[in-house]
C-alpha cells in the first residue's frame, strides 16, 4: 500500500512539473530573421553531419577515425572534454544563485543548470561513439569496477552528476528553492569531483611527463569556471538579443570581473606550467613544451580564450558586456583548442621503444589530424547541444521566477 502511495506521489510529482505543451509547429515557429535562419540551417547541417559521421562509424568501426596505436585518443575525446567542461562550468555559474544564495545570479540559475544538462548529454552522445563498447562499459563498470582508474571515477561521478542536475532543475522549475539548493550543492560537489578526476585521467599518466602531475586536475576546475562564464554571456546575449535589462547588465558586469580574475589566474598557471616544463631540459617534457609553443593551436587558445577577453575586461572594467558576448564566442573556440591541445599534446612524444618497422624511422613527433567522421560527429555534438537547448527554451521557462 505504502508503495502504491509512493508511486502515486512520484507520478504526481512528475506530472506537476511545469512545462509548455509544444508540438513540431511550435518548434518551427521562430522569428524568421536572417540570423535565426542561419543558426537553424547550421544546426540542421550539424545534425545531418552527426548522422553521417555515426553511420561511417557503424560501417567502419574505429577505422573511420584517424586514431592510431601511437595516438589512441583523438578529436572525439577532446570534444567530450569540451562538453563536460562546459557542463561543469555552467553548473558552477548556476550554483552561484541557487546554491550559494547570491541573489543577483539567480536570474541565470535555471538557464545555466539546464545548459549543464544539455552540454553533458551532448558530451555523452559524442563519447558513446568513441568508446569501442559502450554497452560493455555500462555492465562491467558495475560488475567489476576499477577503483584505481580515473576513468571509472570520472564516468561514474558524471553519471551521478547528471542525475543530480536533472533533479535540481526539476526543483528549480517547481520553484522549490530549498530542495534545489540541496540537490544543487550535491550535484556541484559530485560534478567538481568528476571533473577533477577527468584531469586525473591525464595527471595519472606517469609515462607522459608533459601531463603527469597535479596540474590538470586543478586546471580543469579553473577552466570549467571560465568556460561556464563564457557560455553564460552567450546564453544571456542570445536570450536578450544583446539588449540587456538592468539586472542582466549588473550580473554580466560582475561575471566579467570574476572572469578577469580567473583568466589572470589561468595565464599565471599556464605560464608557470610552461616554464617548469621547459626548465632543466627534462627529457620527454621540455622538448614537448617547446614544440607546443611552436604550434598555432596553442596560440589560438592563448589569444581567443585568454588575451582578447582579458583585454576587454581590463579596458572596460567589466562593463563592455556587448564586446564580451562576442569575445565569449571567440573564447569558446579558444576553449575548444585548449581541450584539443591537451589531448594531442599528451600523445605528441613517441614512447621510444625503437619499433623501426612500425615507424619506418623513429618519428620525432606523433602526427594526428581528425578524420571526416570524427569532425562530423563532433560538429553533430554541437548541433545536438544547440537543438536540445532550443527545445528547452520552448519547453520550459528558463527565466528566473518573478514572484
Amino acid at each position: 500500500m505504502a508503495e502504491v502511495v509512493k508511486k502515486q506521489g512520484i507520478k504526481e510529482f512528475i506530472t506537476s512539473i511545469p512545462y509548455n505543451k509544444i508540438g513540431l509547429k511550435d518548434l518551427m515557429s521562430f522569428e524568421k530573421t536572417p540570423r535565426n535562419i542561419i543558426i537553424a540551417v547550421i544546426t540542421f547541417a550539424f545534425l545531418v553531419s552527426f548522422v553521417v559521421g555515426v553511420s561511417l562509424y557503424l560501417i567502419h568501426g574505429h577505422h573511420a577515425y584517424n586514431v592510431t596505436r601511437e595516438h589512441p585518443w583523438g578529436l572525439l575525446i577532446a570534444v567530450y572534454i569540451f562538453f563536460v567542461v562546459s557542463s561543469t562550468g555552467l553548473c558552477i555559474v548556476g550554483s552561484l544563485g541557487d546554491v550559494f544564495g547570491f541573489k543577483e545570479y539567480e536570474m541565470i540559475s535555471k538557464r545555466a543548470i539546464f545548459g549543464s544538462i544539455v552540454t553533458i548529454m551532448a558530451g555523452f552522445a559524442v563519447i558513446a561513439f568513441e568508446i569501442g563498447h559502450p554497452v560493455t562499459m555500462l555492465i562491467y563498470n558495475v560488475l567489476t569496477p576499477g577503483f584505481t582508474s580515473a576513468i571509472w571515477w570520472m564516468g561514474t561521478l558524471y553519471g551521478l552528476y547528471l542525475t543530480f542536475m536533472i533533479i535540481e532543475f526539476v526543483f528549480l522549475l517547481k520553484h522549490d528553492m530549498r530542495m534545489a539548493r540541496i540537490f544543487g550543492l550535491t550535484g556541484l560537489l559530485v560534478g567538481l569531483a568528476a571533473h577533477s578526476n577527468l584531469g586525473g585521467v591525464f595527471g595519472f599518466l606517469n609515462a607522459r611527463t608533459i601531463s603527469n602531475g597535479v596540474f590538470y586536475p586543478t586546471y580543469f576546475i579553473l577552466t570549467a569556471f571560465i568556460t561556464g562564464i563564457f557560455i553564460a554571456f552567450i546564453m544571456m546575449g542570445i536570450r536578450y538579443r544583446l539588449s540587456f535589462p538592468e539586472n542582466a547588465k549588473k550580473m554580466l558586469t560582475n561575471l566579467a570581473k570574476i572572469q578577469g580574475l580567473l583568466i589572470a589566474i589561468l595565464i599565471f598557471f599556464v605560464t608557470w606550467k610552461m616554464l617548469t616544463d621547459i626548465y632543466g631540459g627534462m627529457p620527454n617534457r621540455s622538448e614537448v613544451a617547446l614544440h607546443i609553443l611552436g604550434t598555432w593551436t596553442f596560440w589560438a587558445e592563448v589569444v581567443l580564450a585568454m588575451a582578447i577577453p582579458l583585454l576587454i575586461i581590463l579596458k572596460s572594467k567589466g562593463s563592455a558586456i556587448h564586446a564580451m558576448f562576442w569575445a565569449s564566442l571567440g573564447g569558446m573556440v579558444g576553449v575548444f583548442f585548449m581541450r584539443y591541445n591537451l589531448v594531442h599534446d599528451t600523445q605528441l612524444k613517441p614512447l621510444q621503444m625503437m619499433k623501426v618497422r612500425e615507424y619506418q624511422l623513429a618519428p620525432e613527433w606523433v602526427h594526428y589530424f581528425p578524420s571526416a567522421a570524427e569532425i562530423m560527429i563532433s560538429l553533430g555534438g554541437l548541433g545536438l547541444c544547440i537543438l536540445l537547448y532550443y527545445v528547452g527554451t520552448k519547453l520550459f521557462n528558463l527565466d528566473a521566477e518573478t514572484h
Binding site: 592510431t68 569501442g132 563498447h133 560493455t136 576499477g146 576513468i151 595519472f204 621503444m353 625503437m354 618497422r357
Partner: protein, 187 residues
C-alpha cells in the same frame, strides 16, 4: 602458481625476427606492422665513415614488460586488464570497452587493438596457448636461434632465469617509473 618473467641476453640478438613470426603464428596474431605483440628495436650506427660508433648499434627485443605495478592495469576502468595466477598481465576481451586508456598509460607502447575483437591486446607470455597446454616456454623463446630469451619462474630459485639474474648484471626499461618490469636485459 608462478611468477613468470623473462631475461633477454639482448646483445646476442641478430634481428632475424623469428620471434615476431613465432609469436604471430603461435597466438594467431593479425598481420600488420602495428599488430606487434613483440618486436625488435634497432639502434642505428651513429657517426660517419670511417669514424663509425659501432657500439651505438644494437638490437633491443622487447614486448609487454609484465610489470608488477602495471600502469595499464591500474587505469583500466572495468578491470579487463588483470594479473592472472602466474602474475602475468592479461586482458579479458569480454570486459574491454576499448577506451584506450591502457594504450596511453603503458610506458612501453606494448598494447595494440585487435581488429577482430576490437579490444586491446598484448603479449601474455603465451598463456592462452603454450602455458595452457602445460608447457613452460614461450614461442619467442623456443624459436630464438641465438638463445636471447630465457623464460621462467622468478620465484623458483632453481629456475634458469633465477640463476641468470643471480649471476649476470641486468637492467629494466624505464625502471625510474616504478613499474617493476619482469623483463630483464642482461648486460
Amino acid at each position: 602458481m608462478a611468477r613468470y618473467g623473462m631475461a633477454l641476453d639482448y646483445k646476442n640478438c641478430i634481428n632475424c625476427k623469428a620471434c615476431e613470426v613465432a609469436c604471430k603464428e603461435e597466438n594467431g596474431i593479425l598481420m600488420g606492422a602495428d599488430k606487434h605483440r613483440i618486436w625488435v628495436g634497432v639502434k642505428e650506427i651513429k657517426g660517419e665513415y670511417p669514424l663509425l660508433d659501432i657500439v651505438s648499434s644494437s638490437f633491443e627485443p622487447s614486448q609487454c614488460q609484465h610489470c608488477e605495478s602495471a600502469p595499464c592495469q591500474q587505469v583500466c576502468p572495468t578491470n579487463a586488464t588483470y594479473y592472472d595466477e602466474n602474475n602475468v598481465v592479461r586482458v579479458d576481451p569480454d570486459k574491454c570497452i576499448l577506451c584506450s586508456y591502457c594504450m596511453n598509460a603503458c610506458p612501453y607502447d606494448a598494447r595494440y587493438v585487435d581488429d577482430r575483437t576490437m579490444t586491446v591486446d598484448k603479449c601474455n607470455f603465451c598463456s592462452d596457448t603454450r602455458l595452457a597446454r602445460g608447457e613452460t616456454t614461450t614461442a619467442c623463446q623456443a624459436t630464438c636461434p641465438t638463445k636471447v630469451r630465457t623464460f621462467g619462474d622468478l620465484d623458483d630459485p632453481e629456475s634458469e632465469i633465477s640463476a641468470l639474474l643471480r649471476t649476470r648484471e641486468h637492467f629494466s626499461l624505464k625502471s625510474h617509473l616504478g613499474t617493476k618490469p619482469k623483463l630483464f636485459y642482461l648486460t
